[in-house]
């Protein structure tokens, strides 16, 4: 039994232990809140071998601190204040930064209050094994708890608290290490307060506390040279004031105070939303807000006012007569801003700045005045940023920004880093390692963006490796999409079965020590097989079907029983929840679960007994469901087919064995199921999927790209998975109406389709009925061009882009009439069939298992807020994983093209040419889609063309006469991979070959 105690505190303590404050409720009422706290003397200092504090600490700080710093030879502990974590997280995270750190509770709370992402990073840091960090709960220790004094602002109170704690530590250390008679007294280590606030330092010194600024501290460290680069720009200011900072002209308007912003948003005068940059035109962005159907357009640098992709901004909308339509021009910031100098851009009166603004204003004015009013969008300007969403970005150093004389020197210089993503502005950073970093992919964080500076300022985080080396490209891809890719830690691997890959299903009966067979159905004799893509290692589904005596058919879907191995609330489970999904890249896979489970114990391999979760239906020959039941089971798959093998087997009339017949049976049912689904209005959408052929497993050099082929058996598996998911969704929603994990796809707003409808009407005379998913499906079916079979696919791809993405949700958090899945035309849907690679499926497994009374439902799955929180993460990871996968394909397509181009050159042929469709027209170019490669490209013309925005056509001067190109036209493009001279990054460049050769344009 645990020890239960009563915390006694005398009445006289009330002054320090009770806290009174007034709070405004959501309704605007002011309430008085009184809280108390219990101060204690047993909050441990965390130093190894301290005689006063408890000794059972898992990872204490070293007894004599760290003596590696030259300023503190007696050893020291570091005690950073809040601003250090807010501004210099990259420094603290660096593996070279190793002093023992004391982290105060006050600091943690303040960090959490100021920035949640940084708080999460800090939390991860305290858990990591290579850092020695002790959290000291100073607010609960009687000596260090302080009370806010009259007229003291919270900030000052916290600073004082931090100083008091530092002083306490110093006395604590000297008190617990009294001099021993006869022994020479060794000097005590000091606790160093690290703060950027000079006033705070001064006060600290006055009260006898050692303090240091970040820069001064880092300069005395071993690896000062490398670490100094990690310092955020914030810190550098007071050391070397930038030249004539006061004389600088503000390039951007100042932000309004936050209270004005909030009041404005509340009153409806201002609008709040996420800032989206335009990837074709760096001078344009948009902010979708609920008040308008169309997003608010921001034109020009001043109006975007230092917003960066993903920030939450507040926008003021101009009067309606100043509204503009988006420009139809491609504006590349590298081309326009080529000559900008990193050292002094943005300073008063420099010619460069003038030149840039002249160029930009020309670009802006040339565009949209003659646009039809129907295309005008609400236009406005950013007046404030509510929340920055800055993170580390993958960049290249622009080598033109290097001062040429200094290309080999190691002195500090200012350079530009160009982010890989086209949505981001160039970042200015100061580094000592510029020459080394050229031709490397590096991570850069934005620190601030002053009104006087054209570009944001950032600092270097770390180098990823050489451009175009596979490791660097892959890592940068994972970082760019925030995919967690570190190997699984020990705590996680400890959750695996101790038998490792020797684990087998125990024989039924008395040898079944763990009682695995309890209530499990024995389906080992059923003829089950799995059908997957070639080379699939994580087989999570298998199927069977057989005729019943009454003429009906029994069909079963067997899913790997992952929830048997992944138990709720253990480290493996939390890691899987944080990863959310397995990420598939062309040459790699980032697993959600350790591979022992994913590719072995859970994978339903043939000829071995495996645990499964089965869903078994009785269906009439017309595929009507008679009954369904769910059970945990043990199966023994009889075969693992690829789609192709299964297809061949099914089509071979000579084969009459049970396995083949059951595939035929499944197929006949699947055809009927699909027909029913289509009749109900399901959409048949298309996305450009391509397959990369790799040379061999080791070198993984891509040879060629081809489009994925779809067979009848693909559809067979798909239909049964859909059926299983829908059946399971119904069951868990019925059992857990508040917390069932479901998936939905909201119908897209009609305005999303407006542009596509307009294009179709004007260029092809076709119409698209978007009133419902069924109507859309029907009208997509008649969108055909007799001469062009690929046209239909193209329209489908473009229609898919107009839709919203599907999402997971908890059934209690949204209205029941919004459960539907638009694309599948199903009233309810969930994901049940791939628990090895998706975390939502694991949750669904647990809920279904509880619904059939197999296991009780874990407490966390009863809490709506917990389920919502987990699903938010899973949804985000899911989106990121998709984008990462696509980006990986794109990268390999690029490599394949390069390889193909070189081969062609060897054979003496001309360059790579492919058929493509025009999908967008700009004033100075066209966007094309190469269906064979599944890539989109941009063809730009330097010379002006005649552009008809109304009819989506441009007229290009040809060899003999002018040629008109409109959207959906088929063209032939030449595809080359060329390296950007400045950043060394490979770029796919396309030029038109037919109907006109655009290389001269």
């Amino acid at each position: 039994m645990v020890e239960i105690t009563i915390r006694k505190r005398p009445r006289t303590e009330a002054v320090i232990t009770q806290r009174k404050f007034f709070k405004k409720t959501a309704r605007g009422k002011v309430v008085k809140v009184l809280r108390e706290r219990y101060l204690r003397d047993d909050v441990a200092c965390g130093i190894q071998g301290c005689r006063e504090c408890s000794t059972e600490i898992p990872e204490p700080l070293p007894f004599s601190g760290s003596s590696e710093h030259q300023l503190y030879p007696n050893g020291h502990y570091l005690l950073p204040d809040t601003n250090v974590f807010l501004a210099q997280m990259d420094l603290i995270e660096s593996s070279l930064f190793t002093p023992p750190i004391i982290l105060l509770q006050t600091v943690i709370e303040e960090v959490r209050h100021r920035s949640l992402p940084l708080y999460n990073r800090l939390k991860a840091l305290t858990k990591s094994e290579d850092k020695s960090i002790w959290i000291f709960y100073n607010e609960y220790r009687s000596e260090t708890a302080i009370v806010r004094e009259e007229n003291e602002i919270p900030n000052d109170r916290n600073d004082r608290g931090i100083r008091v704690a530092t002083a306490w530590y110093n006395t604590h250390i000297s008190l617990t290490r009294p001099p021993i008679r006869g022994q020479k007294q060794t000097p005590h280590p000091t606790v160093v307060l690290m703060t950027e606030d000079a006033a705070n330092r001064e006060k600290a010194e006055k009260s006898g506390v050692t303090s240091s600024s970040v820069r001064k501290y880092v300069e005395g460290m071993k690896d000062a040279n490398l670490l100094l680069d990690l310092l955020a720009a914030d810190g550098s200011q007071e050391i070397e004031p930038t030249k004539a900072a006061s004389g600088r002209q503000a390039l951007y308007p100042d932000y309004l105070p936050i209270s004005t912003l909030l009041a404005g948003v509340k009153a409806g005068e201002l609008h709040q939303g996420h800032f989206n940059a335009n990837q074709y035109n760096y001078l344009e962005g948009s902010v979708p807000v609920p008040a308008f159907d169309k997003p608010i357009l921001l034109v020009g640098r001043e109006n975007m006012n230092r917003a960066v992709q993903g920030d939450i901004v507040v926008v003021e909308v101009f009067p309606e007569k100043e509204w503009k339509a988006p420009a139809d021009e491609v504006v590349d910031q590298e081309a326009t801003l080529k000559n900008d100098d990193a050292e002094d851009s943005g300073e008063e009166g420099d010619e460069n700045g003038e030149e840039v603004s002249v160029k930009e204003s020309r670009v802006l004015s040339g565009s949209s005045s003659q646009k039809p009013p129907s295309e005008r969008q609400p236009t406005g300007r950013v007046v404030g940023v509510v929340k920055r969403n800055w993170r580390a970005y993958v960049c290249h150093i622009d080598n033109t920004s290097l001062t040429s004389t200094l290309t080999t020197s190691l002195s500090t210089q200012t350079v530009f880093a160009t982010p890989v993503s086209r949505l981001l502005p160039r970042i200015r950073l100061r580094t000592r390692q510029a020459p080394i970093l050229l031709n490397q992919k590096i991570l850069v964080t934005i620190d601030r963006w002053d009104a006087t500076s054209r570009y944001p300022e950032g600092h270097f985080v770390r180098a990823l490796g050489r451009v175009e080396s596979k490791e660097a490209e892959q890592e940068s891809l994972l970082l760019e999409f925030e995919v967690p890719y570190r190997p699984f830690g020990k705590a996680i691997l400890d959750c695996l079965p101790p038998e490792g890959d020797q684990w087998v299903v125990p024989p039924k009966g008395e040898f079944d020590v763990q009682n695995i067979w309890r209530e499990r159905e024995d389906l080992r004799d059923v003829i089950v097989c799995s059908i997957d893509p070639p080379g699939c290692q994580d087989i999570d589904d298998a199927l069977h079907a057989k005729l019943l005596p009454n003429g009906n058919i029994e069909a079963g879907v067997h899913i790997a029983d992952v929830s048997h191995f992944v138990l709720p609330d253990n480290p493996m489970d939390s890691e899987a929840a944080a990863r959310g999904t397995t990420v598939y890249l062309v040459d790699n896979r980032i697993d959600m679960l350790p591979s022992l489970l994913g590719t072995n114990l859970c994978s339903l391999r043939p000829f071995v007994e495996r645990l499964a979760f089965s869903s078994i239906w009785e269906l009439t020959p017309d595929a009507e469901i008679v009954s369904v039941r769910f059970t945990k089971s043990v199966i023994k798959s009889k075969a693992a087919f690829t789609y192709e093998e299964a297809q061949i087997r099914k089509d071979d009339p000579n084969l009459q064995d049970d396995l083949t017949n059951s595939i035929r049976l499944l197929n006949s049912l699947a055809i009927k199921l699909k027909a029913k689904r289509m009749a109900a209005g399901a959409l048949n959408l298309a996305s450009p999927e391509v397959k990369i052929h790799l040379d061999s497993a080791e070198s993984s050099d891509p040879i060629d790209v081809e489009q994925k082929e779809l067979r009848e058996t693909n559809s067979l598996v798909e239909e049964f998975m859909l059926l299983a998911n829908i059946s399971v969704a119904k069951k868990i929603e019925e059992s857990f109406p508040q917390t069932a994990v479901l998936r939905r796809h909201l119908p897209p707003p009609k305005t999303n389709f407006e542009k596509l409808q307009d294009i179709l009407r004007k260029t092809k005379g076709l119409s698209l009925d978007v009133s419902s998913s069924g109507a859309l499906a029907a009208s997509l079916d008649i969108c055909v061009d007799a001469n062009e079979p690929a046209f239909n696919t193209l329209v489908r791809i473009m229609a898919t882009r107009c839709m919203l993405s599907a999402e997971y949700f908890s059934s209690g958090s949204v209205a029941k009439n919004t459960f539907g899945h638009y694309g599948l035309a199903s009233k309810i849907y969930t994901h049940f069939t791939s628990p090895i690679r998706r975390y939502a499926d694991v949750l669904v497994h647990r809920q279904l298992s509880a619904a059939i009374g197999f296991t009780p439902l874990h407490a966390t799955l009863h809490s709506k807020s917990h389920v919502e929180r987990v699903l938010d993460v899973v949804n985000r990871r899911h989106r990121m994983a998709q984008m990462a996968g696509r980006a990986s394909v794109e990268f390999y397509v690029g490599l394949a093209l390069k390889a193909r181009g070189e081969q062609a050159k060897v054979r003496g042929e001309a360059d790579v040419k492919e058929e493509a469709f025009v999908i967008r027209t700009f004033r100075n170019g066209v966007g094309v889609f190469v269906s064979k490669l599944g890539i989109e490209g941009l063809v730009t013309f330097k010379r002006d063309t005649q552009f008809d925005a109304e009819n989506y056509t441009i007229t290009v001067p040809g060899a003999k006469k002018d040629v008109k190109i409109s959207v959906f036209d088929k063209v032939i493009v030449r595809i080359e991979v060329e390296k950007d001279k400045n950043t060394q990054r490979g770029k796919v460049k396309m030029t038109l070959v037919e109907p006109v050769d655009s290389s001269a344009l």
């Binding site: 239960i4 309430v31 219990y38 609330d569």
Partner: protein, 253 residues
């Protein structure tokens, strides 16, 4: 709620109860017994009148005393000012719970045809209202000299994710599933289990046991206060005839 270092929002650990202060000196005019009790920032005053002659014929029983409990919650007791009338559902429910708790504990059969009135005044609320009411009522009854079979000691237990917590504050009570358990420590019998939130079955038993144990810790505290008070009274009775000392003067009127 419960941070990585194992501290709750007010600096307590999982199994630590808030400070208890008990004042058994007489309050109000002519109450036969009274108690003022605080659990942290929750404060309750209880006055007991009786056993005395029943006011209404209809409510007299020929074989036992009638127990009448009235609860009043001060408008200023919570952070938001709110007046609750006598007919308020929550108050009625609370007094009903208390009544059914104490009826079997008081030896009512000793006082046929009489009435025992218990007036509870809630002065400050910070979680654990029922717990405070039960503990204070037990003390007031003991102070009034009404024979009880045993003390009734109550405590609230909650669960944060999977770790149990004891004696919840209002902040914790609003966010966590919780259960109030009252036991008679000598016999170990459970007299009240009240739960208004959903609590997982697997967690229930653990918390239930823990709350039972915690109630015993509270019992020690309550018994001590009753004993101290009695000793003080005895001491002052022995000093009758001598001029009263300053300390005792307040208790004597």
């Amino acid at each position: 709620m419960l941070n990585a270092g194992g501290y709750r929002s007010d600096g307590r650990r999982q199994y630590e109860l808030r400070t208890i202060s008990i004042d058994l000196s007489p309050q109000g005019s002519g109450a036969d017994g009274s108690a003022s009790l605080t659990h942290g920032l929750t404060q309750v005053n209880v006055c007991v009148f009786g056993p005395r002659e029943a006011k209404m014929r209809s409510q007299t029983y020929h074989d036992r005393a009638n127990v009448n409990i009235e609860v009043a919650i001060a408008a200023f007791s919570a952070s938001e000012r709110r007046k609750r009338g006598r007919g308020d559902k929550r108050i009625l429910e609370l007094s009903q719970t208390l009544k059914s708790t104490f009826e079997p504990v008081i030896q009512t059969s000793l006082y046929p045809r009489s009435q025992i009135d218990i007036y509870i005044q809630v002065l400050q609320q910070d979680g654990g209202l029922l717990q405070a009411c039960i503990n204070a009522t037990t003390l007031a009854l003991a102070n009034a000299g009404i024979p009880l079979y045993d003390f009734v000691c109550a405590v609230t237990g909650g669960v944060h994710s999977t770790s149990p917590l004891l004696d919840l504050t209002l902040l914790e009570e609003n966010d966590l599933p919780n259960v109030t358990v009252a036991v008679m420590p000598r016999s170990g019998k459970v007299t009240v289990v009240s739960m208004e939130t959903r609590l997982h079955v697997d967690r229930f038993e653990e918390i239930f046991r823990l709350a039972g144990e915690a109630a015993k810790a509270i019992h020690v505290e309550m018994k001590k206060s009753v004993r101290d008070r009695t000793e003080q009274l005895v001491a002052s009775m022995q000093s009758v005839g001598r001029p009263p000392t300053g300390v005792d003067a307040g208790d004597e009127y």
